[in-house]
Symmetry: C3
Subunit: 328 residues, 3 copies
């Protein structure tokens, strides 16, 4: 509450992203809409760091998602208010320690290894990992892209470019659920044109509202990107089990490219997930997105995307969108 230090230290940032689209995921009806978050989920946040001396820093982050179409808070009704970030951290030569709600272990690796980044609407990989748009399809990363009650320890950069993160989520529930937890390891290596990233996570807790899962879901992914300047290539492979039923299994392969063209980039990505439930025949989801993302400035771009989405036993769907994304 001391005004004297406040003004210099709090940064306001966020993204306003809207598109006009005709959207049809596999197994769903076509819907024309003005949508929020075509390329990046719209958000606003407040953050800051304080230099404590001796290389030590304290920091905080508070970030809210919102739907710009309706002005509603959160990614969906019932989302937690600061679903993006709500944490305090301490960092130094030892690495960093972050306490509170922050990105889940799967999130950062997933957005680094596909050309559509963190597009929950149109990235095939993010669609397969995190979204439940397609009836009968089970998302592979069950425990949300943000974890509450989380302690994250991140190493400093080691071996010339590697960061390893250890994630632990408390249940914050009384006995007998007080030992239930989510736990994970994630890592990212970046050096010159090469990027590698991956995670392994176990989830006994749902997010953003923390409730107990019937099963301990497990999922992992490894992926990478290589920048040849005239083209950047992306690929990933991951698997998951015990998501919706005991011993169900999913495996996702994804490949994509980003090709500079004029002031923009041509984007293409394909993801395929085999979903195996013990007592039923296998199901396959196949999603292909093509787009062109044109930079009006470093902060503002316009994009157009076509996505084709198929899932065993239902109608396929094709989506079209044109949108604008503004970072602030």
């Amino acid at each position: 509450c001391s005004a004297t230090w406040a003004q210099n230290t709090v940064t306001i940032s966020g993204t306003a992203d809207m598109y006009v689209g005709s959207i049809q995921y596999a197994g769903t009806e076509r819907q024309n809409k003005l949508g929020s978050g075509g390329m990046t989920t719209s958000w606003i946040g407040f953050s800051g760091t304080e230099d404590l001396g001796g290389g030590l820093k304290a920091g905080f982050a508070l970030g809210s998602f919102m739907r710009l179409d309706s002005g509603a808070l959160g990614r969906f009704n019932g989302d937690t208010s600061y679903a993006r970030d709500a944490n305090v951290s301490l960092s130094g030569s030892f690495g960093s320690l972050k306490l509170g709600r922050s990105s889940s272990p799967n999130f950062v690796p997933s957005l680094l290894v596909n050309p559509f980044g963190a597009s929950f609407a149109f990235s095939p990989l993010i669609q397969h990992m995190d979204m439940t748009n397609v009836p009968g399809y089970t998302k592979t990363a069950q425990a949300d892209t943000g974890w509450s009650n989380q302690v994250v320890y991140s190493t400093p950069k080691i071996f010339g470019g590697l960061t390893v993160n250890l994630h632990y989520q408390f249940s914050n529930q009384p006995s007998p659920n007080d030992d239930k937890n989510n736990a994970a390891i994630s890592a990212t290596y970046a050096s010159g044109p090469l990027l590698l990233s991956g995670f392994y996570e176990q989830a006994e807790l749902n997010n953003p509202t923390v409730t107990m899962r019937a099963l301990k879901a497990k999922d992992w992914m490894l992926g990478g990107a290589y920048d040849l300047k005239f083209l950047k290539a992306f690929a990933s492979y991951g698997a998951a089990e015990d998501m919706a039923q005991q011993d169900d299994e999913a495996a996702t392969v994804q490949a994509g490219v980003s090709i500079p063209l004029g002031s923009g980039k041509v984007l293409a990505s394909y993801a395929q997930t085999k979903y195996e439930v013990s007592s039923a025949s296998d199901l396959t989801r196949k999603t292909l997105s093509l787009g062109y993302d044109y930079a009006l400035s470093k902060r503002t771009d316009v994009y157009s995307i076509v996505m084709h989405d198929r899932f065993t036993g239902t109608n396929s769907g094709t989506s079209y969108a044109i949108g604008i994304r503004h970072h602030f």
Copy 2:
């Protein structure tokens, strides 16, 4: 999320407005209260613009209403979090295009043509158009003063002072409601002492929570103001139909003055609405407000208002309020 550009571009603004009042609308009981938003609905917002070069600009706005009396978010329980603004825009020599939640077509014209501006508590015109305080009375602008899922195209200033706005609201619902929409045209002309403003809108959708209306409501208004320096005169006429029942009709006439006196202004406005339901006798609402608004600075004023409100078949009501409004 890039801190380097954020601090310079985000503007925080808003209004904190509170009054002590003894409030009685027609047909209601007297209530003594500490109320929020006597002259302007209290709000806080974050906005910014980016110069893209070549006369092109990108912008965003996020604005929340709140009730300062209780600290509750929104204008009422269940209001959308960013009910005032949640949009991204692009503007240039072609005019501007705004995507997301923003002011409805009726809002800006209505506040320009009456001396109490956007006072939802005490402006007779705003009371008749937008509020449901009086039992049995039907507001003429049914679809809220903010529209969700909205695309607004505004022309640049043409003919030396005219701006025309085209509004379209998507339903964002699947079939068979995907083509339901709100649509409107509004315009404002300002030149020297003269201001003219008006709108025509059709509404198949309710706001702020978007639901389907049983009927397509229609309403329009034309009004103006003329500034003679020693006195500013205001007048408006508007009509509406198919609001609560098929073929119901309302017509509202309003006139007012604002007279500079000392560091403040004397305000007076009278509105009369005839409400006609096919199978019943006509109903008439008559509301008169008198006030004095004293400027402590350009940003802060104190005001006192008396409002008398009558509606056919119920007790009349007289309200008294004294308040303070602070823009930040």
Copy 3:
């Protein structure tokens, strides 16, 4: 809504406070958790003041609490969005007048007279006055630490260090509840090493959601602190009645010390409350907290606390916590 003045006048401030703890209040089960607000309830706020000339100032404050563990808004589900501050004020040589939601009369006195300040988790005094963690225990300050619909008049500093505050909360309800209110007087005197603070309040209304109380609860407290440099001593005594039942009574005595040690302070506080219900035997709650609060900077500290809590007829509980608090 005028951007030109906004950027210079709005201050963003707040506190991010998280701890890892093993928590057990009297009569409850042990719970391991990552908790929010060990020393200070986490919050973010926007505020500003405007110089009106002649010593007069206008100001506003909007402050939200949040739980950093889950990113949820408020101190608990159902808390009002701006539960900390939602008000506009005018101040000058006459003192200050604040309209809206702001601290209740009991809050500031209570945090000044105990060494753990406003720690709702670990201050024995705040636990006894404001929290309902212990089954069967009745908090003595029934009407919340923030009051909605409140007018607060504060005197300027008189007699070389005394400020007196008059608090009145409207019900904002129609007849027959329109005259129900909360009312109080509070005062603080600070001069050199001595601080004295106290309040008397009567509450017919609950907060933060304003509802009618069955009884008019009454509570008061007097306390003080004296700073001997090598040690700061704290003590308080208070009583309450008509909280949960007609003629129930509570009396709380508290004493504590804060002792500078290295870059930190050793903190100790003990509170004892006798709770007397007419038709039942007396109940006693005894709570002792010991802590060490180490300053990393003026804005950031780390703390470790042990709290022992007993209440007649139930199991005692001991809590352990280690945490970090960052002001911004």
